[in-house]
């Protein structure tokens, strides 16, 4: 439940608070409410938490003891060409303060809002009497009065001067346009309660008829007197807290003033709900938001479309460039095709040449071996057979005439550094008077068998 406080006379002295008030007297309304967050700030240039609005007291239609009252706030709306914004303000007020009915009198005063706080769940705190006999009870909302012209509010102590003589206006002309502060009607407590302040504090204020002797002499009162209207002589001390709740006077009583009870049969409480206008405001707001959303949707869709179009354009350029390159590549490949055969042939020649070169480098020349063997063999030495391979070790069975010749052969081989790297002589057999046989194991020089090495 939203809680807010209506302080009609903030920061005023007690004396000032107790001063009698007139209807439509300018009052300052302090609305303290929770920070509602998103409030149409551009339209209300006040602190978002505490707002002071100037307005005028209009009426009170309690009847349920919940301190309902009806005030008209000025300057809550700014005269603006943006009607939707003002509608948003009204909608927000209505939404944040569910206990209130808010209307905007656009035809005459676009900046005003009439707020009726009348729902029981709305907690209203303020320096005004919370009673059926409150000082507001003597006032009538001219708008409401217009609606209920055939059923004037009973037990209203002080009639609206604009509706004096029970003349009921069927138009808003009963409510003076732009003249709320000029026209004044006094709010008066009951006569017996206006004698002393102490009594006022004790029993509260009750608007009632008062004699002209007790009424302050004002031009307005004189005006009322001249018109024969029962004039209040004393206003209500708005903002003064009562020591105790006053007891409501019987309805229709001559000296007592009270508001009609909600349960009373035949009593028609004024309908101050301005819901039709509220209903009209919301669709406009919804329409405004829907249009905003749609505009943004359209904007994003256009961006997306432009992005898609740009990408497609880029894609088309890329495809075109790619096709150009592909065409060039195909042309080059057509020129390459006849040369593929040449390439294969060339590769074959190259491979064959490479193989031939490799084989030739490892070609074995046995004649080279035999030439060196002959070179390093003594004249009287002969070989009986030969078993050899390319491993580099040669085994030879040889024979000679005597041992000195064998020695000479060994020495000769030892000096053959270009032929052998190692010489082993074994199985030396001396056959008396005939020959000497022996075996030679030669470790040939590396690469001996190969040409040009």
């Amino acid at each position: 439940m939203n809680k807010f406080m209506v302080n009609l006379l903030p920061d005023q002295s007690k004396k000032e608070a107790e001063r009698p008030r007139k209807k439509n007297e300018p009052v300052e309304i302090k609305l303290i409410r929770p920070n509602v967050g998103k409030f149409p700030q551009p339209e209300i240039k006040k602190d978002p938490v505490e707002h002071n609005y100037k307005g005028s007291l209009i009426d009170e239609r309690a009847g349920d003891g919940k301190s309902s009252f009806f005030v008209r706030l000025k300057n809550i709306f700014k005269r603006s060409p943006h009607q939707e914004t003002n509608s948003a303000v009204a909608s927000d007020l209505a939404e944040k303060w569910p206990g209130s009915d808010i209307s905007q009198k656009r035809s005459s005063l676009p900046s005003e809002a009439a707020i009726n706080f009348r729902k029981p769940e709305v907690s209203v705190e303020g320096n005004f009497p919370k009673t059926n006999n409150s000082a507001f009870s003597g006032l009538r909302n001219p708008i409401v009065a217009d609606r209920h012209e055939t059923k004037p509010t009973p037990a209203v102590g002080i009639r609206n001067p604009f509706l004096s003589d029970n003349k009921v206006s069927s138009t808003d002309s009963a409510w003076p346009k732009n003249n709320f502060n000029k026209e004044s009607v006094l709010f008066v407590p009951p006569a017996e309660k206006t004698e002393t302040n102490s009594n006022q504090e004790k029993e509260g204020f009750f608007p009632q008829k008062v004699s002209s002797s007790t009424t302050p002499e004002t031009s307005q009162t004189k005006k009322f007197e001249a018109s024969g209207t029962n004039l209040p002589v004393q206003g209500f001390p708005v903002g003064q807290r009562f020591a105790q709740n006053p007891v409501a006077k019987p309805v229709g009583g001559e000296s007592g003033w009270s508001l009609p009870q909600s349960g009373n049969k035949g009593i028609d409480l004024p309908d101050v709900s301005l819901s039709p206008e509220k209903i009209m405001i919301l669709p406009r707001l919804v329409k405004s938001r829907v249009v905003t959303v749609l505009i943004w949707f359209l904007f994003f869709t256009i961006i997306l479309t432009v992005c898609w179009w740009w990408n497609n354009d880029q894609l088309a350029i890329l495809v075109k460039n790619t096709k150009i390159f592909q065409g060039k590549i195909l042309a080059v490949e057509k020129e390459i095709a006849p040369l593929i055969e040449v390439k294969e042939r060339t590769l074959s020649i190259e491979r064959k040449f490479s193989r031939a070169q490799n084989v030739f480098n490892k070609h074995i020349y046995w004649t080279k071996f035999f030439s060196l063997l002959e070179k390093y063999t003594s004249a009287n030495v002969s070989y009986n057979g030969l078993a050899a391979n390319t491993s580099g070790v040669i085994h030879l069975n040889a024979s000679t005439v005597d041992l000195p010749t064998l020695g000479g052969q060994i020495l000769l081989l030892k000096t053959a550094s270009d032929f052998v790297s190692k010489v082993d002589v074994s199985n030396i057999i001396v056959k008396t008077g005939q020959e000497v046989t022996f075996s030679l194991d030669l470790v040939l020089n590396q690469n001996l068998f190969y040409a040009n090495r």
Binding site: H363, F370, A388
Partner: protein
């Protein structure tokens, strides 16, 4: 809800639209435009450049091959045959044997891995004919290597293992 949260709705729509645009418009196009993509122009440009260079190399190669004499190519064909070509090998061996007046006692041939191996057992030889035979093998136009040899003590016969080579395709 629309009245209260219309900015949120707009924002949500913008976010959804952005995600949609990124996933279904921007990203696929960027993917095919990116490096290695279907429409990567740089890739095709690089291929064209490589193909052009390849074409130029082939042209140069073709010119160089055209300058090789056919005689040299024939020699190369004889040095390293295109295949084992056993008839030609046998013919050459027989020629060597006959040139040195040797007797072919035994003969074996096998081919594997680009190498043809011939086992020869020859008679009616002498040390000189043996050396001449080796000399003939060494200087044969088709390259032949004697890897093993065994000369009998009386030098009347010898055995050799000859290897010859061919181009293995």
């Amino acid at each position: 809800m629309l009245v209260k949260f219309y900015w949120a709705i707009i924002l949500l729509f913008a976010v959804i639209l952005s995600i949609f645009a990124y996933n279904y418009i921007i990203q696929p196009i960027q993917k095919i435009k990116s490096k290695g993509g279907v429409l990567d122009v740089n890739y095709y440009q690089k291929i064209l450049s490589e193909e052009s260079a390849y074409y130029q190399n082939l042209k140069d190669l073709s010119d160089q091959v055209g300058r090789i004499r056919q005689e040299d190519l024939d020699k190369l064909e004889q040095v390293i045959a295109d295949d084992s070509n056993l008839p030609a090998v046998l013919n050459q061996v027989n020629l060597l044997v006959e040139q040195n007046q040797l007797l072919l006692d035994n003969f074996g041939v096998s081919s594997a891995d680009g190498v043809t191996t011939i086992n020869l057992s020859l008679g009616n030889s002498s040390y000189e004919s043996f050396k001449n035979f080796l000399y003939g093998v060494e200087n044969n136009i088709q390259i032949m290597d004697v890897t093993d040899l065994n000369l009998a003590p009386d030098q009347k016969s010898f055995t050799v293992v000859v290897k010859t080579y061919y181009q293995q395709n």
